[in-house]
């Protein structure tokens, strides 16, 4: 997934090869991760796609099924991965992920501790940020979840950047071997305050901790616990509002009263032929917020380890 291996980096010249992980894109909300395998096929509502047809095509190509249906083959990125991974737990999405990595000051070479691993959505982006020389140590108390995550990181080629441990961080804290070595710590735990004293010992001076909690009571209690050894304690909520774009024919003919209540001839952009569209003068691109949105994911509480007294 990451261009750490120069040979796997996307470029004009790189094509899909046997064994590659590709993201099969049907629609912006229908995608799937597929491992390309010479003899395999992919079947969906558009028909049967032979993997052998894919090999040698540039990434970003449109490929056809036996029935003429099509999909796109995309190179995987952590953002696409977040959309296709299997949800073993509630996952973090791009808005929270991006902000966490920025606010935790994660840069190449950092050593990051994370608990819990969950579905590995954040972990994947953390790995991208610490590459090529840093490392993410991530822990989950749930044995099976940890091994599923491990398999995923193998699939996405991140094993050199991520280690998954099975451990109850709330109960046992982080392993002693990381004392004073962590640049940043991320907690997504039901009772983060139980893990904060351990996180504090793991952090380098001036290192940053982040705790993600859906409920304000968890934030209140964490903030209280953080008060003694941390400074610069700040709590945020990050959301993303998406917009929908459609074109509308600017119709200046008289519309009689009765038809005003009828739905307009609505045409969504993505389902349209480009051919009949090039008289731009008569169409307007209209844009408005999508009405359904994620209204809350969680509160992000950040804190910086206070300099030793």
């Amino acid at each position: 997934m990451l261009p750490t291996d120069e040979l796997k980096k996307i470029s004009f010249t790189r094509s899909v090869r046997d064994g590659d992980l590709v993201i099969v894109y049907e629609r912006h909300d229908i995608m799937k991760a597929v491992k390309v395998c010479e003899g395999s096929t992919l079947q969906n509502r558009f028909g049967v796609f032979k993997h052998s047809d894919w090999i040698g095509k540039p990434f970003g190509s449109k490929v056809l099924s036996n029935k003429g249906g099509f999909i796109y083959l995309l190179a995987p990125t952590p953002e696409l991965w977040t959309l296709v991974l299997s949800h073993r737990t509630q996952i973090l999405y791009i808005a929270d992920i991006s902000f966490v990595i920025m606010f935790l000051e994660v840069v190449p070479g950092c050593l990051i501790l994370e608990s819990g691993t969950g579905s590995g959505s954040l972990t994947t982006s953390l790995a991208r940020a610490v590459a090529p020389t840093g490392h993410v140590y991530t822990f989950d108390f749930h044995e099976q979840r940890a091994s599923s995550a491990r398999e995923d990181f193998e699939k996405t080629g991140l094993t050199s950047l991520v280690s998954v441990g099975v451990r109850d961080i709330q109960g046992q804290g982080f392993p002693e071997e990381f004392v004073g070595l962590a640049d940043s710590v991320f907690l997504d735990l039901p009772q983060p305050w139980l893990a904060i004293p351990s996180a504090e010992r793991m952090l380098k001076q001036d290192g940053v901790l982040c705790s993600f909690s859906p409920c304000i009571e968890q934030v209140q209690r964490s903030a209280e616990t953080l008060q003694s050894k941390f400074t610069d304690i700040r709590t945020f909520e990050v959301l993303l509002r998406t917009y929908e774009v459609k074109e509308s024919k600017t119709d200046s003919s008289q519309v009689d009263g009765s038809s005003v209540g009828l739905p307009p001839c609505k045409r969504r952009l993505r389902s349209k032929d480009s051919d009949d569209m090039h008289d731009d003068s008569s169409t307007t691109v209209m844009v408005r917020p999508c009405s359904e949105a994620r209204g809350h994911t969680g509160y992000l509480t950040f804190a910086r380890l206070r300099c030793p007294s």
């Binding site: 009571e217 509308s248 739905p263 307009p264 359904e292």
Partner: protein, 491 residues
């Protein structure tokens, strides 16, 4: 006039109402009055006895009254008119709504097995029955809350946990067990219930209660509940006009008793009804329209408006309002001004009823209406010439436009001259650019000041011990509002 208290045996629901709208949308239905079975005197008396200080704000239902039935905490919302013959279908059985007549709004009903078989009976609330919207929200979020006390490591949910079969439940039912008893039996026979967290136990109980002991809450059809119900189930019908946006329109336009409000209502009558509710029978609301066909305002009938209020709801084509002389009810009068005012840009997202039905209609359907009789036939009558004359002489005291598919400026340029100097106005729209253009034009033409485009933002919270957070699902968009004040222009 006195005999205006129309009582009907028609039970109408959002579902069936819209079915009608979908089929007969072009027809502005005016179904004649029926002879009421119960004389209006009796209602007036009873209402004056019960609600001496506030006849327009009754707290008990009556025969012929419109109500909102909230089934299982918002899972289904049904508008109905109460009569001894009206029924509500729950599951595959129909239940008479007669027991709801004369009960306080806010009463809760459940199915009970009485002498005459299962029927709706009032539940006397006790503390643990305080189910509310917040718990509902909670139900949606399986994974969000990580329980502090226990965790689900030990629980394998493989559908084998329940030892009570559906045959067993049917048998219990036929032996007259109540829904609550079935729920208790399900809990007693669940192998995993005891292992669940307290929180999961609550969730389990509520899920079973909804299925086996559904509850019907009796609510008043006010602007609040009507707007919320439509927004939840059929947002496209009301142009996605969210409650907070609607409330802002009423404020921006200074709607109050004794005012004369000009509205363009392409949101099914919701705006007209909301304005009429605020007028309380004093002043007037003029629902104007471009062309020859009035805009439908069926939602007005859902309000329990009395005759006085209904008589203040009038319609008038823009052509007549804008013409220099009053045209005496020329029925299909075509008018140049009216035509010019309408250059709608087709841009609304509202989809056909058929689409709506498949997307957000409840699978459980509604009993068929017994008679298609509508209350409030008077509401929305054509404004008489003398009223139009008064409006022209004095000007309207404010203007509200909620026409999601029309071009704001085209409407405003013709309508604003009809409102009094210094009168406020508010325009709701789904798109920003048409309002920006409209605002720009109003400034260029020096027609208005205090112009502002604003977008309401509403967020609901779950407030529960240790589980407080904003709702995980939110409606991210409440539309845009352009507000301003008309100025006196010498030219």
């Amino acid at each position: 006039m006195v005999c205006g208290m129309r009582i009907s045996w028609f039970l109408f629901s959002v579902d069936s109402l819209f079915w009608c709208l979908g089929r007969a949308r072009r027809v502005y239905r005016r179904i004649g009055k029926t002879s009421p079975k119960y004389p209006c005197e009796s209602f007036k008396m009873s209402s004056s006895i019960l609600q001496s200080e506030s006849p327009r704000n009754p707290r008990l239902t009556w025969e012929g009254c419109s109500v909102l039935l909230d089934i299982n905490d918002g899972d289904r919302l049904v508008f109905a008119r109460l009569s001894p013959a009206s029924t509500l279908k729950i599951g595959n059985k129909s239940f008479s709504l007669k027991p709801l007549i004369g009960c306080p709004f806010g009463s809760l009903f459940q199915i009970e097995n009485g002498g005459n078989g299962p029927h709706l009976a009032r539940v006397m609330p006790s503390r643990e029955e305080g189910i509310n919207c917040q718990e509902m929200e909670e139900m949606k979020e399986e994974q969000v809350i990580k329980d502090e006390l226990r965790d689900n490591r030990a629980i394998v949910d493989n559908n084998k946990a329940q030892s009570l079969s559906s045959e067993d439940i049917d048998a219990m039912r036929s032996q007259g067990a109540t829904g609550d008893e079935i729920v208790e039996a399900l809990i007693a026979n669940s192998a995993t219930f005891e292992k669940k967290t307290v929180f999961s136990q609550e969730k389990y109980r509520l899920r079973k209660q909804k299925k086996y002991a559904p509850r019907v809450l009796l609510r008043r059809p006010f602007t609040r509940s009507i707007c919320e119900a439509y927004f939840k189930k059929y947002p496209a019908r009301i142009g996605f006009l969210r409650l907070d946006a609607l409330s802002l329109l009423l404020s921006f336009a200074n709607v109050t008793a004794n005012s004369d409000v000009l509205v363009v209502d392409l949101v099914g009558g919701l705006l007209t009804g909301a304005v009429a509710e605020r007028l309380g029978g004093k002043g007037s609301v003029c629902n104007t329209y471009v062309g020859n066909n009035p805009n439908p305002m069926d939602i007005v009938r859902i309000f329990n408006f009395d005759d006085e209020i209904c008589s203040r709801i009038m319609r008038s084509p823009l052509a007549e309002l804008a013409s220099s002389q009053v045209e005496n009810s020329k029925p299909n009068g075509e008018n140049k001004v009216g035509e010019q005012a309408s250059h709608p840009v087709n841009m609304d997202e509202s989809s056909l009823p058929s689409t709506d039905q498949s997307s957000d209609l409840n699978s459980e359907s509604i009993v068929s209406p017994l008679t298609k009789v509508f209350k409030c036939a008077k509401a929305g009558d054509k404004a008489p010439p003398e009223v139009i004359t008064t409006w022209k002489e004095n000007g309207f005291t404010s203007l509200i436009i909620a026409a999601p598919q029309s071009d704001a400026w085209s409407l405003v340029k013709d309508l604003l001259p009809l409102v009094a100097n210094s009168a406020p106005f508010a325009i709701y729209h789904q798109y920003l650019q048409p309002l920006a253009t409209c605002m720009h034009k109003l400034q260029l033409e020096k027609m208005a000041i205090s112009l502002q485009i604003s977008e309401p933002w509403l967020r609901e919270y779950q407030v529960l011990p240790s589980r407080t957070h904003p709702f995980m699902q939110m409606n991210a968009f409440g539309g845009y509002i352009l507000s301003g004040i008309k100025i006196f222009n010498h030219q």
